[in-house]
Amino acid sequence: MSNEIKSDTQQQEEAPAAASLQKQAIERERSNLKEHGLLKVLLSFLGSMELAISLFVIIAIASIIGTILQQNQDYNTYIVKFGPFWFEVFRSMELFDIYSSWWFVLLLGFLLVSTATCIYRYTPTIIREWRQFRLKVSSKSLKLMHSSGSWNTKNSPDEAAEFIKEKLRNGGYQSRQKNEQGVITIAAKKGAVNRLGYLFTHGAIIIICLSALYDGNFNLKLREVAGQLKPETRDLFASQVPDISRLKADENHAFRGNASIPEGNTTGLVFLQMRNGYLVQELPFTISLNEFRIEHYDSGMPKSFESDVVIEDKETGEKISKTVEVNHPLIYKDFAIYQASFEDGGSIMDIQAWPMAVPDNAGSAEAAEAFKITPFKQVIGESKVIKTPAGDYKLELAEFKISNVQPNPKAGTGENEHKFKNMGPSLTFRIRDSSGQAQEFINYLNPSTQEGRFFFLSGVRSTAAEPFRYLFIPADDDISLKRFFDFRALLGNPVEMQRIAEKTAAMSLQSAGVPDAKMIAQMAIVMQKLAELFNQGGFDRVLNDINDNVPEDKQKDVSDSYFKVLQTILGTVYLEVLQGEGVDIENSITLAQEQYYDDMVNTMGVVSNYKAPFFLQVKSFEHKEASGFQITKAPGKDLVYLGCILLCVGIVLMFYVAHKRIWIIITPAVESESGSRLIAAGSGDRHQNEFAMEFKAFSQLLDKHFMEEKS
């Protein structure tokens, strides 16, 4: 940059010879520009260091905004965050897509122009500096330099010059000699490539920026302004996207798009994200995903994932089969296909929904009958309306995970040596009521063990910020949920319950020796009522009822007897359920079946906190994965790399190659014919300290040589 010449005062002090030459260069340039006043002003503005530094700072600050404000999010997210007013302000400033906004690209453009101007203005000087030896120096200017010295020798000027030239050559200097009226001037330089460092670094910036701009989506923005393109913001199937949002294969020289391909599917399109919308880019080939594979570490973290793909050229029909892996993209013609991510590709769940809600008309036979949902199939990502006596609910299947690895709490206790355990597949879903309120659930498909018994786990929460609260449903002898829901169904069936209550009341009163029909009827009513309360909210519900309706001093007695009665009827109901399963209840109830009763009663006690109209069981599933690819075409990439190499080489040249000059003027001594007088001086440009040491060594060398010859 030309300011380099004007304002580097230190350099001028230390190297007046160099500075005077640089001044000449400026003056030449000035006179060239004299006629073009405006151009001159423009050039000196664009090439000024102030502009360059300001641009650095402004670009840095603008970039910061883009890192703090998450870019290219859904517009609704921004509206929620900032409100409609600020959203509109930010949007008009293109703050949501800052790095391809007009003003940001304009700033980069300014930087480019500024850099180019500097190169334009400084290149002639650099080339001169690089090539010329500068034989035009005077003894006077040499003496003024920081590093300088003078010597007398008996050697003739030619002998002295030969000696000095040899030493300079050894020291890595190139030199030129000028003889004028017996005065020998030697000009030597070393490391002149340092000057090229300037051209390399600044040229590299221009190459990198231009190539990157060429690879960017700037052309699409231009076409958008021209009205030829319009990003689609609706969630459509690719085939439904209108032509104004589509790009033909040959229409776009550079892009970066995404495609998610389920196993067994084929696509010839990618989606290019553009602000809050997208464009559909056609490819000149199709990609089919044959197989997606994923491996995990013991901790459940993905270790590697890869896709077997087949590329088929749309024109030639040529087919290529390859495996694409993270960090190992597939390069096809000008395109690169990257393994980017993976997701569910539409796994199919085979679902059984068990009734859970206790509707308002609970207890009626109709309610029990109406609440039977036939098993159905549903795909992940889709939703379905389910009718229940408690109203219509929308079931949204959110996510299916084939495995859930968690740290094993028992690790290292000897019981289980594995640090992690796999909880098996899980389904995350939401149940949304008619008012739009949703609860989120996570159900583990396989039962997990607690103290040696199997339980089915289901977590529930109202918002994503909460942790899941888990319901443990004991698994029956067949490791299924059937017994639990049979038990609930029986409890919820008034006709059956009346029969069971009467039977139980008669049996218990008879065994107690009070076979009074009236008392039996009364007790049956109490039993049925207690069972109903229990069905609604477990023992707590019963307890609350007692607390509400019984005087305080009698509560304990009442609750003791009520619980005895309740246990009796629940036991009978359970036995009926077991009988229904074909268990010989007189002779062979197992320990496990006894334990099951306790677990089930416990679960029933908390089930009212599980606010769901039905319990979802995935009976089987068909797992389907989709592989996420990023497909890019970046013709400017190689140029960017070339620029990068230039940049690195340039930086090394600038910082680590010292540009040094040494001048020696040898004049024949006046008093004796054979002797001569030397003046030597030099400058190390930006490496003054290092040069000072080198010049000291040079001086010592001359001291020694000429001293020896004196003696």
């Binding site: 670009i59 970039s63 910061i64 890192t67 990157a212 570490y297 960090n327 990023q630 990068c644």
Partner: protein
């Protein structure tokens, strides 16, 4: 470039690089080449072409480094001997780290890092004592402790590398993959750069300032690695990080970060001395501060070195991104902050080289630069999300 007085005198004598090298230099090269050949013979089946390239390029770089800066040779030998001893003690049994005396208390990765941490903190104190009371003994002790800490730090990393393979072959990876590991790297790189300038300028009095930033890194390391976060546990690599690029991108970056940190601490020393001298309060302590010229010069050299490596690291990062993420530049927060750091030091260098600025304004600027660098280094992982979310806090 550094040269001793002897080398300077010889600069104008007819000679070449090969003649400048002593027998020791050749011995050094031979040891490195033999070790490399052994590594190649043992492990070449596990290496792809890039990794083989990295192995041989590293060998050449270490040879050149040892020729350029002689103390590296002794340093490397200490590190090699101790690390190999630890690896020998481990055998194939990771659990020995808890039972074997040497491993448990000295040279298992965690113990070595603990020693490193303790020695850096002690060295910081000793450097300041040396500066304040002018005790040469204290300064020399500090220097020796810094060297030892740097040995233990690298031993810690190398042994950790081996430990990761002992956990499971699949888990094994170079220990530059999370914040805990790179903070160790940062500490030893900064220390090595400082030690180089200490030797070159023959002054111990910059030490306290530089070690202060290393001690801060150590404090963070202990909190982050051994506190409730337990980041000192070796974790397997996510697929995106399983690449030879990591072996070159991350270390190159930390030469940059280390150099910028070094420059900033020298800037602090510069400003203190300059202010006190200007106020006429330059007592004996201020006298002992390094010369302003030296501080200014080392600050410049450090930033130039940092800038060169940071540029290289960013380019390597872009090339890796092109291979892993499908684009050499994505305006990901980490990338963007790398650009911001780069622009910041580009401005600094322009001001110094072109506008001829010196001294105070640039000292202030490099202190601000440290904060920008710190944000790029830690802040991005703490506050922003993006593709670089490996070392989350």
């Amino acid at each position: 470039m550094s040269m001793t007085g002897q080398e300077m005198e010889n600069i104008f004598e007819k000679q070449n690089l090969w003649r400048k090298l002593s027998l020791f230099d050749w011995g050094w090269a031979a040891i490195i080449l033999m070790s490399t050949a052994y590594a190649w013979q043992q492990y070449s089946v596990f290496m792809d072409a890039y990794e083989a390239g990295i192995l041989f390029a590293t060998a050449l770089a270490i040879i050149a480094w040892g020729w350029f800066w002689k103390p590296v040779r002794a340093y490397s030998l200490y590190v090699a001997v101790i690390s190999l001893f630890a690896i020998y003690l481990y055998g194939n049994e990771l659990a020995l780290g808890e039972t074997n005396f040497f491993l448990k208390f000295l040279i298992s990765s965690k113990s070595a890092i603990m020693w490193m941490s303790a020695l850096y903190v002690l060295a910081t104190v000793a450097y300041f004592i040396g500066l304040f009371i002018g005790s040469e003994f204290s300064s020399k002790t500090a220097s020796a402790m810094t060297w030892s800490a740097t040995v233990m730090g690298l031993v810690g990393l190398l042994v950790r590398w081996r430990e990761s393979y002992l956990i499971h072959f699949d888990v094994g990876h170079i220990p530059v993959s999370n914040l805990y590991e790179v903070f160790i790297l940062f500490s030893i790189i900064t220390a090595l750069m400082y030690l180089y300038y200490e030797g070159k300028n023959k002054t111990y009095n910059m030490g306290g300032f530089v070690l202060l930033v290393i001690s801060s890194a150590v404090a963070f390391l202990l909190w982050y690695g051994f506190g409730s976060r337990g980041a000192s546990e070796i974790q397997p690599l996510v697929p995106a990080l399983q690449s030879y690029w990591m072996k070159i991108h991350v270390p190159a970056n930390f030469v940059g970060y280390g150099a910028f940190a070094l420059a900033a601490m020298l800037a602090v020393a510069y400003l203190i001395k300059d202010t006190m001298v200007k106020k006429g309060r330059g007592g004996a302590i201020i006298e002992r501060f390094p010369d302003l010229d030296i501080l200014d010069d080392v600050m410049y050299k450090s930033i130039a070195l940092g800038f060169a490596f940071f540029t290289l690291a960013t380019i390597l990062g872009a090339m890796w991104a092109a291979e892993a993420w499908g684009g050499y530049w994505s305006w990901d927060p980490k990338e963007t902050w790398a650009l911001i750091v780069w622009l910041n030091y580009a401005a600094w260098l322009h001001l110094r080289l072109t506008k001829g600025w010196r001294g105070r304004p640039l000292a202030w600027w490099s202190i601000i630069g440290l904060f920008v660098t710190l944000f790029a280094f830690i802040g991005v992982n703490m506050f922003l999300s993006g593709l670089h979310s490996y070392g989350e806090l």
